[in-house]
């Protein structure tokens, strides 16, 4: 196990370096000048331009910029945002709690709604609820989040529920409910389908028949034997989705005015704030890779057949 983790961690290094290089290249060779719109309709004074370029290291050749960046990276220094002049670490640190809250709400939806719907549909396979779940999840998957977001805001405003479920967020738990649900809806649909598919498959598994042959009532045969197996993919999926959600949600955060990592990224692209962009993306990539590893380990833990030797 230890060996496996070390090996996986080692394999992350080239991935990480590759991702840094790609993102860095994109971010710092992106057409557009961070100074172009900075002084409004007027061009920025040259002294400001010169200062700006040297302060953020933009006057150096690209490859030097990259190496300097990497050097700083190993000391945990992600650089300084050229938009707010805060450190990128600070920019991320103040946004992560919000992004995390949002991710947790979405994940909670996945677990509560998605898994439940999947189980009910799987057990009542072919029944009305199954059809309902199958069709509604497909529809949810087909509706883009920006349509869903707009419609949900509209519905809340229409029924004057804004004071209970705010349609925009100030970072509090309550104000993140609606965006969390909207963001989670796609994942809920996936989880429901995943759970259903696996449950249906497992309900027909030989060992469930064995469980009946051992004299179990359906409650135990399904509730324990089939479920234990069926939920493994769902649980690991939820874990993986948490990793993805922690990368922020650009569109959802925009629609609901959430000051999270997604909006930070969008802003940094628009403002040509390369340092922040690279920093944020790298953190996302690392989180994603680590979560993938965690999920794999979790998988091995939940399913004894998977060995990591």
């Amino acid at each position: 196990m230890g060996k496996y983790i070390v090996r996986r961690l080692l394999m992350m290094i080239p991935t990480f370096l590759g991702a840094t290089f790609i993102i860095f290249t994109l971010a710092f060779t992106m057409p557009g000048d961070p100074l172009a719109g900075r002084c409004g309709q007027k061009p920025c004074p040259q002294n400001y331009v010169d200062w700006f370029r040297s302060f953020y290291g933009l006057d150096k050749p690209f490859i030097v910029q990259y190496l300097v960046y990497l050097g700083h990276l190993f000391t945990g220094n992600l650089g300084i945002s050229n938009y707010t002049r805060n450190t990128v670490v600070h920019e991320l640190a103040i946004r992560y709690p919000t992004t995390l809250k949002l991710a947790l709400i979405a994940v909670l939806c996945e677990i509560i709604i998605g898994v439940t719907a999947g189980i009910v549909a799987g057990i009542r396979r072919g029944g009305f609820i199954d059809a309902l779940v199958t069709v509604s999840t497909l529809v949810v998957i087909a509706i883009p989040v920006f349509v869903l977001g707009g419609l949900s805001q509209f519905a809340i405003l229409k029924f004057n529920l804004n004071s209970i479920i705010p349609v925009t967020s100030n970072g509090s738990w309550r104000s993140l409910i609606l965006p969390g649900v909207v963001l989670g809806s796609l994942y809920v649909a996936y989880v429901a389908r995943l759970t259903r598919t696996n449950l249906v498959e497992n309900l027909r598994a030989d060992y469930v028949r064995t469980a009946y042959a051992k004299g179990m009532m359906p409650a135990r045969a399904i509730g324990l034997h089939a479920m234990r197996n069926s939920l493994i993919p769902s649980i690991t999926y939820v874990g993986a989705s948490l990793g993805a959600l922690m990368g922020g949600a650009i569109i959802t955060e925009r629609i609901f005015n959430i000051n999270g990592v997604g909006s930070l990224i969008y802003r940094s692209i628009n403002q040509r704030d390369g340092t922040t962009l690279v920093g944020a993306v790298l953190v996302i990539v690392v989180i994603y890779m680590v979560m993938t590893l965690v999920v794999d380990i979790l998988y091995g833990y939940l399913d004894p057949r998977i060995g990591h030797e």
Binding site: R204, D206, T210, Y212, A213, K214, N229, D303
Partner: protein, 359 residues
């Protein structure tokens, strides 16, 4: 001893599968019985309904699509089909239990094997976990799993095929059942292991005084362990008789075919091994008349139309039965003599890969 004729009495059992493509009548009026400590072998190709019969007796048919549509399954004189689900479940384990062909998939992959054995005590006797564990370890020792205590916590995939089947067996005999149904217990195993498992089964049968229903297509296995044989074809019982009688003079053409296709020491080297030509019928589109007629070299017009022949007694003792219009003719066939292979015979054994298993 008791107010019932047989330990298990299956009477006119009907099972059908209701699928989108139609209704498949998987079992059509199957009747047989099993006495205490007796071993009954149910023979047949895949799809002949032998596993479905076993599952119907156990009450573990996948339903839907499978439904028992008629008949009785009397255990010690009580019809299990009339029991409530709960009563039925309580039967499974202490009264009847079953082992399956593929122990790997029949065992839950995510629970330790010991736990799965112990579960029998916990669900039926509400035994506490440490007692159940002790009992399970003793069972594992009984089925000769080495280092049982250490392997209690191992998972199914960590065992070899034979060991897994032993665990299945341990689980099945845990509550000392009256009847053990073994559904092709050795098919998936190596030949040497097959013998060991059969020996173990036999031994445990004696030890526990169990009736054994052995579902198989392996005639070699049958000859050694079975008391009686029931041959199934296309959801019907076509012949049933004490094992010696069947081997001595099979009376149904299908049984004859089966026996002929077993390689024997006296089979000529380089000769073609006889096989039953054709394929088993599609349950959704049964041929009229005797279901076996398209593949039967004895078939006459009577076999090709009308109702299938009923299972009729062939002797006064009432131990031999066959379902064939031409039992009179089959009685004189010397099936042990190599005959010229009729045209319709093919030597393609690959048509049904399961048949290949017992070659």
């Amino acid at each position: 001893m008791a107010d019932y004729d047989h330990l298990l009495d299956v009477r006119d059992l009907h099972v059908e599968f209701r699928m989108r493509t139609g209704i498949a009548k998987a079992i059509n009026g199957v009747s047989f019985y099993l006495d205490e400590k007796e071993t009954l072998a149910i023979l047949g190709e895949s799809g002949s309904g032998k596993s479905v019969t076993a599952q119907a007796i156990m009450g573990i048919l996948d339903s839907p699509p499978g439904f028992v549509t008629g008949g009785e399954v009397l255990f010690q004189g009580v019809d299990m089909l009339k029991m409530s689900r709960k009563q039925r479940a309580a039967m499974r384990g202490p009264k009847i239990s079953m082992i399956f062909q593929d122990a790997l998939s029949a065992l839950n992959p995510v629970f330790p094997v010991g736990w799965q054995i112990a579960e029998m005590f916990r669900i039926h006797h509400k035994t506490n976990s440490s007692d159940a564990m002790k009992a399970a370890i003793s069972l594992m020792e009984q089925v000769r799993i080495p280092a049982a205590r250490q392997r209690f916590k191992a998972y199914p995939h960590q065992f070899s095929g034979g060991m897994r089947q032993r665990i299945m067996i341990a689980m099945a005999i845990a509550l000392d059942p009256w009847i053990l149904i073994a559904d092709e217990p050795t098919t998936a195993l190596d030949v040497t292991v097959q013998a060991q498992i059969m020996a173990l089964l036999k031994e445990l049968q004696d030890e526990h005084d169990m009736g054994l229903i052995l579902i198989t297509h392996d005639l070699g296995v049958v000859a050694n362990v079975a008391d009686r044989i029931a041959v199934m074809y296309a959801g019907r019982l076509v012949e049933t008789a004490p094992v010696v009688d069947v081997y001595g003079q099979p009376r149904h053409p299908y049984t004859i075919g089966l026996l002929e296709s077993v390689p024997r020491l006296d089979t000529k080297l380089g000769g073609v091994l006889p096989a039953i030509g054709g394929l088993p019928p599609n349950l959704l589109a049964m041929p009229s008349g005797c279901p076996f007629n398209p593949r039967c070299r004895f078939a006459v017009d009577q076999c090709r139309q009308g109702t299938p022949p009923p299972l009729e007694s062939l002797d006064a003792k009432g131990t031999r039965f066959a379902a064939c219009w031409r039992v009179a003719d089959t009685a004189v066939v010397d099936w042990r003599v190599d005959e010229p292979v009729p045209d319709e015979r093919v030597d393609d054994m690959g048509v049904d890969d399961e048949i290949g298993g017992w070659l």
